[in-house]
Amino acid sequence: MVATKQLYQEVILDHNRKPRNWGALADATHKAEGHNPLCGDHISLTMKLRDDTVDAINVHGESCAICKASASMMTTTVRGRTRQDAEQLVREFRDMAIGKLDHEKQPHHLGRLTVFAGVRDLPTRVKCAILPWHTLHAAFNSVASTTTEAEADPMHAPMGNA
């Protein structure tokens, strides 16, 4: 299956093997927990904001390769970015993952994150990829805990404006 092959490419496998910014920040100003109860993925995110800019961000938890690599690449991407830019990425990543944004035809700021575009063809794995971004959104908004289910389900409801 093309989508599967596209997804399990070296960059994702590498981030899964050696996730960047893995652990918890001692001096975090924002934090959030993300759960995907259907598959048991769990992401814990700590972040230090300074002047509305992501000064440091760490994640850790128990999850599949798609989720872990997505979390790892998210941390390397949003560090040094303003909250506004990061939230823009949250929206674009989600739209790409659910197939609403065609990264080859429409403008976006996702850069290397387009390696996750293949999840749109694997409905059961979309939430795995989105969970870290969902958790980041929750952390910005100081929501202690988030999930990919019910009202927060990215497959059914918009994530809201931050």
Binding site: M1, T4, K5, L7, Y8, L13, N16, L38, C39, G40, D41, H42, E62, S63, C64, A65, I66, K68, L122, T124, R125, C128
Partner: protein, 419 residues
């Protein structure tokens, strides 16, 4: 050679002619991602053979009307077929009386019926329900709802590292406050066959009734509720080659008669005024509204099909599949089987080092191999074995040794991707 339902018995270790058996399951001809479907998710739901599918169509095209109601031909025919199906299910589990066989929508529904009808009536403050670590959520949550409402509590039988229940601890948990024991006959997550006969004997010594969750047992082995002496036995049609939306709750008549109805509605009454309703006799007291008639009759056909093949042949083949799969998977470095009980049904849960089960499942799907990955609605089991989830291959009598080979080859490919 004797032809039975198209399946041919032959001499040898495994008495099933798998080619004939498989030819009767249209869905097994599917190709997934260009590869032959290898369906190893039977513990979640099994597939239906042509004679069973045909029964559904025959009912809907020539026999359908509502049952237990009108006097016209179709209603009488449908009623007769529905009650004939009940007798088939009665024979399938060797229940003493047909009125002890209640059609439900599935195992979950059956357990909820007992939780409501027995639990809400007989469980009081300070009482205890004994469950086990191996239970599916469907045999945990309904009891939590009861104990929360009644101020009772749940006691849990632990398991050892092989996934076997601790019988000594079980015996200690039984006490005068124990109102019911709920235990799964076969663990859906690990495949453990629990020593239910012994557990029932111990419970009955203390006068405690026992509910068995038989969802994973009936597709693999002959079940005799009288021999087991269980008080309740719940199972689902769709895990035993019948349709979804139908199941059976067996209950000893002495209990069912004392229990309160679970749902109110038509067909479960004798007379209704706004002041008072007299309930119908069992089993009808528990079958409110229009039941899944077509599904019940089709499940009866699934029982006929299983009888035709013979549960003993199914059990023998399932055992061969499990033994072969266990041996092959054990040979893979970096793969650990979770659940290594002495007595197991054809369920193989495993963990691949460094690879999350969801990635295993997605990559196996690419090879056409369908397995279940996740917590299997048994989170206490996952916690006990300190894993967030497992990969689970579960077999049915239509699976072949070469499908086990496909699974093993698939796992090797997963390991190669994640190397």
């Amino acid at each position: 050679m004797t032809a039975i339902h198209g399946a041919v018995l032959q001499q040898g270790k495994s008495a099933l002619d798998l080619e004939c058996v498989r030819a009767e399951f249209p869905i097994l001809r599917l190709k997934i991602n260009g590869k032959p479907l290898v369906f190893l998710d039977n513990a979640a739901s099994s597939q239906m053979p042509q004679p069973v599918l045909d029964r559904w169509l025959k009912y809907q095209t020539t026999q359908h009307a509502n049952i237990h109601r009108a006097v016209h031909y179709l209603s009488e025919t449908a009623t007769a077929e529905y009650e004939a199906a009940r007798r088939k299910l009665q024979a399938f589990i060797n229940a003493k009386e047909e009125r002890e066989v209640i059609f439900t929508t599935g195992t979950t529904d059956g357990i909820n019926l007992v939780a409501h009808g027995y639990g809400r009536k007989f469980v009081g403050a300070g009482d205890e329900i004994v469950l086990t670590t191996l239970e599916h959520h469907s045999n945990i949550v309904p009891w939590q709802m009861v104990v929360e409402e009644k101020g009772a509590k749940i006691r849990v039988v632990p398991v050892n590292d092989r996934g076997e229940l601790d019988l000594e601890e079980y015996a200690r948990l039984l006490n005068p406050r124990t109102k019911l024991v709920g235990v799964t006959h076969v663990s859906n997550a690990l495949g453990t066959i629990n020593p239910v006969r012994e557990m029932i004997r111990l419970a009955h010594e203390k006068g405690v009734p026992v509910l068995l969750d038989g969802a994973q047992a009936v597709p693999h082995m002959k079940v005799d509720v009288q021999e087991l002496d269980c008080d309740f036995y719940a199972f689902s049609g769709h895990k035993m080659f019948g349709p979804t939306g139908i199941g059976v709750l067996y209950g000893k008549a002495q209990w069912l008669e004392k229990m309160q109805p679970y749902k109110g509605g038509g067909d479960m009454i004798l007379s209704v005024t706004f002041e008072k309703t007299d309930y119908n006799v069992i089993p009808h007291k528990f079958e409110a509204g229009t039941t899944p008639i077509a599904a019940a009759i089709t499940l009866g056909a699934a029982v006929d099909y299983l009888h035709g093949i013979g549960m003993e042949h199914i059990h023998a083949h399932d055992t061969d599949l499990l033994d072969y799969a266990t041996e092959q998977v054990n040979r893979l470095p970096g793969v650990r089987i979770i659940g290594t009980a002495e007595q197991k049904a054809a369920v193989l849960s495993f963990a691949v080092d460094g690879v999350h089960p969801h990635d295993v499942g997605t990559l196996l799907n690419e090879e056409g191999v369908a397995i279940r990955t996740g917590h299997h609605c048994a989170q206490p089991v996952m916690r006990r074995f300190n894993v967030p989830a497992t990969s689970r291959a579960s077999f049915a009598f239509y699976n072949t040794m070469s499908e086990v080979d496909a699974l093993v080859a698939g796992i090797k490919k997963v390991q190669k991707v994640f190397r």
